[in-house]
Symmetry: C2
Amino acid sequence: MKEKEQDKRIFLSHGSGGKLMHDLIRDLFRKKFANKILDQLSDSAFIPEIIPEHNRLCFTTDSYVVNPLFFPGGDIGKLAVCGTINDLCMVGATPLYLSCGFILEEGLELDILEKITDSMAASAKEAHVSIVTGDVKVVEKNKADNVFINTSGIGLRKNSLKLGKEYIEPGDQILINGYIGDHGTAVISARKDFRLETDIQSDCAALTDLTRKILNKGNHIKFMRDPTRGGMATTLNEIAFDTGFGVQIREEDIPVREETRAACEILGLDPLYLANEGKLVIIVGKKEAQGILKLMQSHALGKESRIIGEIVSEPERKVIMKTPMGASRILDMLIGEQMPRIC
Amino acid sequence: MKEKEQDKRIFLSHGSGGKLMHDLIRDLFRKKFANKILDQLSDSAFIPEIIPEHNRLCFTTDSYVVNPLFFPGGDIGKLAVCGTINDLCMVGATPLYLSCGFILEEGLELDILEKITDSMAASAKEAHVSIVTGDVKVVEKNKADNVFINTSGIGLRKNSLKLGKEYIEPGDQILINGYIGDHGTAVISARKDFRLETDIQSDCAALTDLTRKILNKGNHIKFMRDPTRGGMATTLNEIAFDTGFGVQIREEDIPVREETRAACEILGLDPLYLANEGKLVIIVGKKEAQGILKLMQSHALGKESRIIGEIVSEPERKVIMKTPMGASRILDMLIGEQMPRIC
């Protein structure tokens, strides 16, 4: 029996709790995310993990509304898995389990949803996490935009970890694991209304392995944060504001790809404020900085790592960027909107 | 300084990761959901709870897209908190912590968002759970519908609990804690296009206290499920399908309010398929059924509890409803869509 074209789309009934929803869960989500915990299909997933002594549970959530759904280097599914994994990594936790909540627009092609779930499954597998519980809702045409995904994540963190903004002090070095601005540029250049032809790929990646190696090196790292929405400038401002210290960075040491810089110039954007999805800013004591840098550079996700600046006692709560010519520029937190729906 | 009217709305910039987003998080979400874990404002929340021995972590997620946002007896905020709490209650877990992810439509009035967060905060407080981590995204006008909320929840469940569909056997009694169909009817009657004047209130409520009291009574309960989307008929079909047994219910014992029945007749809906948000179906051994019924009836959320039927060995995987006249009707799982966006 040949399926009709219209049968391969999402109907409102796919979200009604009835037969179509059960079929979708069985034929798509359970198949793609296959694991024993998800297969329980109970109202909540039972987590078999025993929390070891001296460990603490970490819990995070993010919704993903990126437009377009597919962009060079990734898609909304990969983003939804990696983004939430990275939020757990940033606090030093090992990501273990994810939930996923889909909000689908009526009329969405099932092929698109399948591609997205394939991508989620592959990213989860690569990062050794399981998607153990989920939900799907459908809204009428023009009441959403194809697909929105929420993922929440839980992970485990050793209590002995000395990681937190309270450990930051003047003299500490600031590191980044590579080129900034790639994700934002890749997403924007994929939008039809821009028709910008670049080869830039999103840096979207799970940082689990890199952060684990850094943390295993010993208790040298003081703080990590992924510069996503608002970009590196916003993350540095958060650090300055939260610690009360100043942040000083050197413009020439900030890794920005030539193509990214060129695309940003055409679009009137600043790479310092563009979202990254596979980057982390690390604060580390002065003595340990070179060792951590070398370790990062030896990792596939850190080849272009750099020390970009340091924590200073003043000016308090400000981020100052030194230009190659010796001038200083204050980097504010992002005020307006560079581009909506970047993640 | 008088604020301009347009300042009291959500802009795309509220989701950009920059200053407006930080202000919104500080002035609204942190204020309303105030607790020390949320105040950490790190990439993931640290859960202070120590998992006691012989306990297991439970994890669940749900997105809420109900239309309209406010309806008699509740709103999307109350629903988002109670719905996810109930998913934890149904597996016998004590709900502890929630995440919340907002997807906001550009132009949303801040007053509306504040009312919703007030309602979430009140519902969370009443149910003794904390909202410990969150996220906010903003999409362009007509790319969402005012507000969508995802909540994920974690809770603790005793390993000794003998609760699960594998314990169900023929002869077991089926109980419900009161009138069905109220939530669906209240939401639909609140839609402008229906202009249906009824006094029906949604039954939206957290079932924590009721389920705790039932579980404390001893290990008599075999299974619980909240008949939300797809209604009671769908929940009973899931039970029949998953156990391989039959389900037989008596039409005259199913509690339906007269007003709900009347409204459903006008709208051509069936209360058996309408969503409930404060109801649970309980399966219990024959000997214990009366005791559990009395306990339920003594609780504010169970006054109208009834024994509505039983598990039978055949017909397998079918739900049969006996009418007062002695006829039998097969209740299928909901096939189409009674009404979209009921939760």
